[in-house]
């Protein structure tokens, strides 16, 4: 059975995304088009569902296209990748091909270029899988850090594990500091290394960061490996290690067709939100809480009855807030979802909430 072609479009310009979504929707293979406006969001989407092709812009704030493609090639070696850019620079083109992209496309400017662009994308979608090595699959955190150190990288690695967030600072291939929860330095590094699953992103280098770690990266990784071996021999699991990257309460929602992300903001603002499919759950949880409170207050004042739901259509995606006895359930819906199906999708998804 033929798999449905799915394309992920990554560009920081949401107007362009709408335009490309419209153009690619007319391809003969009728692919499903999803969009992302940041590299982090694109990686989250790639982790949560299979795609046939990633079409990526190069010039983006925070994580640029080449950084995204480097991560994508490592993490999703089977995924076809194409760059679409406005400014063609031969050096950039060479770097992109060196990363292992399938195609380097110029953003089309006229009817003829649009036709050629669409033909190229269609041919990529039709391309059969070829045997052979295309990349490195499923790297552990140790492998990732080793790669960064060996390539003499100066960068900041941000690692997210459930509700825990850690950062590791690298300077010319040496680990200079780490932070995780309340810990800093080597302790924080060890804590991060004890996480077994999660997401990561490479942030721009922080050249003025304080050096708190003086041990070589080999020594640090060796210590961490030893600690992990000891922990596994006792069958222990780190306290902040979740069983899965999707919280159990949100797992059925994550499998609902049309749902992009979900955040559960508890009434207690100090409790971290449960989340799936988003990189910034805390601001989203705060927003959901404040929005629900604002309209609950109006409802009480005007005796309008209980607040049942908040449904919103957005430029990038649609969202819904469903009040629950112990908090607010914020659900992100795909922008491609027709208005008529939005309410039903929100209802289906919220019914699957398992407190």
């Amino acid at each position: 059975m033929a798999l449905l072609n799915k394309i992920l479009l990554l560009d920081d310009d949401s107007d362009l995304l709408v335009l490309y979504q419209e153009m690619l929707g007319h391809l003969p293979s009728k692919p499903e088009i999803r969009t992302a406006t940041s590299g982090a969001r694109a990686i989250t989407l790639l982790e949560s569902e299979p795609f046939s092709l990633l079409l990526c812009d190069l010039q983006m704030p925070r994580m640029d296209g080449l950084q995204v493609l480097t991560i994508v090639r490592r993490k999703f070696p089977q995924l076809r990748t194409a760059v679409m850019t406005a400014g063609v620079d031969e050096q950039v083109r060479s770097r992109a091909y060196a990363i292992g992209i399938d195609l380097f496309l110029e953003k089309p400017n006229n009817r003829n270029e649009i036709r050629l662009f669409l033909e190229c994308v269609e041919s990529l979608l039709g391309k059969k899988e070829q045997a052979g090595f295309r990349g490195i699959q499923s790297k552990s955190l140790v492998d990732l850090i080793q790669l960064e150190c060996l390539s003499q990288s100066t960068s900041t690695l941000k690692i997210t594990n459930g509700t825990s967030v850690g950062q590791i600072w690298l300077n010319e291939g040496e680990i200079i500091d780490a932070e995780a929860q309340d810990e800093v330095g080597e302790q924080a590094f060890k804590r991060i290394m004890s996480w077994k699953t999660g997401n990561f992103e490479i942030l721009p280098p922080d050249l003025d960061h304080t050096v708190r770690i003086k041990t070589s990266y080999q020594g640090l990784l060796l210590d961490s490996a030893q600690a992990m071996d000891e922990a596994s021999s006792f069958g222990s699991v780190a306290a902040d290690q979740p069983a899965s990257s999707v919280p159990a309460a949100l797992e059925p929602i994550s499998r609902t067709q049309g749902v992009d992300f979900a955040v559960f903001a508890t009434s207690d603002v100090k409790t971290p939100p449960l989340h799936w499919g988003t990189e910034n759950p805390i601001p989203l949880a705060d927003w959901a809480r404040a929005t629900a409170q604002r309209f609950q207050a109006i409802g009480t004042n005007l005796e309008l009855g209980e607040l049942r739901s908040f449904e919103a259509m957005g430029l990038q995606q649609h969202v819904g807030i469903v009040p629950r006895p112990d908090g607010q359930l914020l659900i992100g819906l795909q922008r491609s979802l027709p208005r008529s199906e939005m309410k039903e999708c929100l209802k289906n998804a919220s019914a699957k909430w398992q407190p």
């Binding site: 406006t37 404040a290 109006i298 309008l304 209980e306 957005g314 990038q316």
Partner: protein, 98 residues
């Protein structure tokens, strides 16, 4: 001898009549036009307008730019559409809420 005072049934005059209609608001939160009768206090419309604008603006701050939203209550629905920094707001009562 004690007298018995008959208990009175409360009158229904206090029941609030929910409005139906629409109004528009500019970027500063001032009411521009409305089809909602004078019986509904303007302060309530102002409160709804403020909440609507706050919602559009706060959504943008968390990278969720919204074009339109509906708030569904047991007996009422507020629908708001973003309008160049301001908004047009539709109010409808229970029988019209799907």
């Amino acid at each position: 001898m004690a007298t018995i005072t008959p208990k009175r049934k409360p009158t229904v005059n206090n029941l609030r009549v929910l409005p139906s209609g629409s109004f528009s608001v500019d970027t500063n939160g001032s009411l521009v036009s409305t089809t909602i009768g004078q019986a509904f206090p303007r302060q309530h419309l102002q409160n709804i307008a403020t909440a609507v604008l706050q919602t559009f603006r706060s959504a943008e701050e968390v990278a969720l730019p919204l074009t339109e939203f509906s708030v569904v209550y047991g007996a009422f629905k507020i629908t708001a559409r973003e309008l160049k920094g301001g908004a047009i707001v539709f109010l409808s009562t229970a029988e019209k809420v799907k």
